[in-house]
């Protein structure tokens, strides 16, 4: 660093890198805001049967940046081999559960009162209907739950879209 030209070249290179950093920072922030404004579909990451309350607690992740609201839940009960209970359907139980962006929220689904406790092999197919603030449409997410060893369930999800209100 013996000549002023060397100093100026050094400073220019650092200034270019700094400008690049500033530009990419603001681009990244803009893109992050755009992505966060797109509503995502909720993901049921876990489901647990609570024997005392006779209910299933679903842990639902909202991976997007827009809050979603579950407006109603329906479920289909299918008995397994061990159960004496008959199959039944409970539809459109109105609830109001807000799923904040980026976090896992717990939603409780109460099974039909007066029915027997779930046995191994019993299956519950729950359907949650949710809305987001950007459109009046209703969306659903269906989650099949089968009471198995260690409370594990079939980790399979279906998602379908119902248009219109």
């Amino acid at each position: 660093m013996k000549r002023p030209a060397g100093i100026l070249i050094l400073i220019s290179i650092i200034a270019l890198i700094l400008g690049w950093g500033i530009g990419s920072f603001f681009t990244q922030r803009t893109v992050a805001k755009v992505v966060a404004s797109i509503p995502a579909s909720p993901i049921v990451v876990d489901a647990h049967y609570n024997r005392e309350k006779h209910s299933i607690t679903y842990s639902i992740l909202n991976p997007g940046g827009v809050p979603l609201t579950i407006v109603d839940e329906s479920f289909v009960f299918t008995p397994g081999k061990n159960s004496k209970e008959k199959a039944y359907i409970v539809s459109h139980v109105p609830i109001h559960a807000v799923l904040p962006p980026g976090v896992v929220t717990r939603v409780e689904l109460k099974l039909k009162a007066g029915t027997e406790k779930l046995q191994l092999g019993d299956a519950v197919l729950a359907t949650f209907t949710y809305v987001h603030p950007l459109s009046p449409d209703l969306y659903t997410v269906a989650h099949p739950f089968k009471l198995g060893i260690g409370g594990k369930n079939v980790a399979q999800q279906k998602k379908e879209i119902k248009g219109g209100k």
Binding site: M1, R3, P4, I7, I11, L18, F25, R29
Partner: protein, 190 residues
């Protein structure tokens, strides 16, 4: 007439300030990072101003001295001393130009250290957020934007400091050579 003009100018001035605050608050509401960037830039420029113009002035004066011009000693003495009277009492004008320039350079040292300390703290906070040692979705990007805004005047200060240091070094070498040549000549004359 003058009074009326004064009031008109005053009204325009107030209107501009109000409009500026309004626009700035709109920007803050829409893009808090952009506002943080501007605040970081302006705030650090405020502290860097003395250093930027100080080092710029030193580099200019030293370059002029190297090119053979003789800068005004009393002007440089005023930059070093607190007041012209103090400069007179300290007999700064009796010193050579190169010595005055190097004194001016070292008089900026405390400001430089305070400035770099401030930038380092801002950089440290931004790095803590960036590396997720502290995490906040809201404050993290704002801390980084403040750091990026502050980095611009810091780069200017650093570059001008290097330039001023280089030119003052050259000026000192030139002055020392002149003294040596002068003493040799006087010895030969004797």
């Amino acid at each position: 007439m003058q009074r009326v003009l004064w009031w008109i100018v005053f009204g325009i001035f107030i209107a501009v300030i109000v409009l500026g605050i309004f626009l700035f608050s709109l920007v803050i509401a829409a893009h808090p990072e952009a506002a943080a960037f501007v605040i970081g830039f302006l705030g650090f420029w405020l502290f860097a101003n003395r250093l930027i113009f100080g080092y710029g002035g030193i580099a200019n004066a030293a370059k002029a001295f190297l090119d053979g011009e003789i800068p005004d000693k009393s002007e440089i003495a005023q930059k070093i001393a607190k007041s012209p009277e103090a400069a007179q009492l300290q007999k700064l004008e009796d010193l050579s130009v190169a010595a005055l320039l190097s004194m001016w350079l070292s008089s900026l040292e405390p400001f430089k250290y305070a400035y770099y300390l401030g930038f380092f703290l801002v950089f440290l906070i931004a790095a803590l957020f960036e590396l997720n040692i502290i995490s906040s979705i809201v404050i993290g990007p704002i801390a980084e934007a403040v750091m990026l805004g502050a980095a611009i005047p810091t780069l200017l200060v650093w570059g001008l400091e290097l330039l001023a240091g280089y030119y003052v070094g050259q000026a000192l070498m030139k002055a020392v050579k002149e003294i040596e040549v002068g003493s040799q000549e006087s010895q030969q004359n004797q």
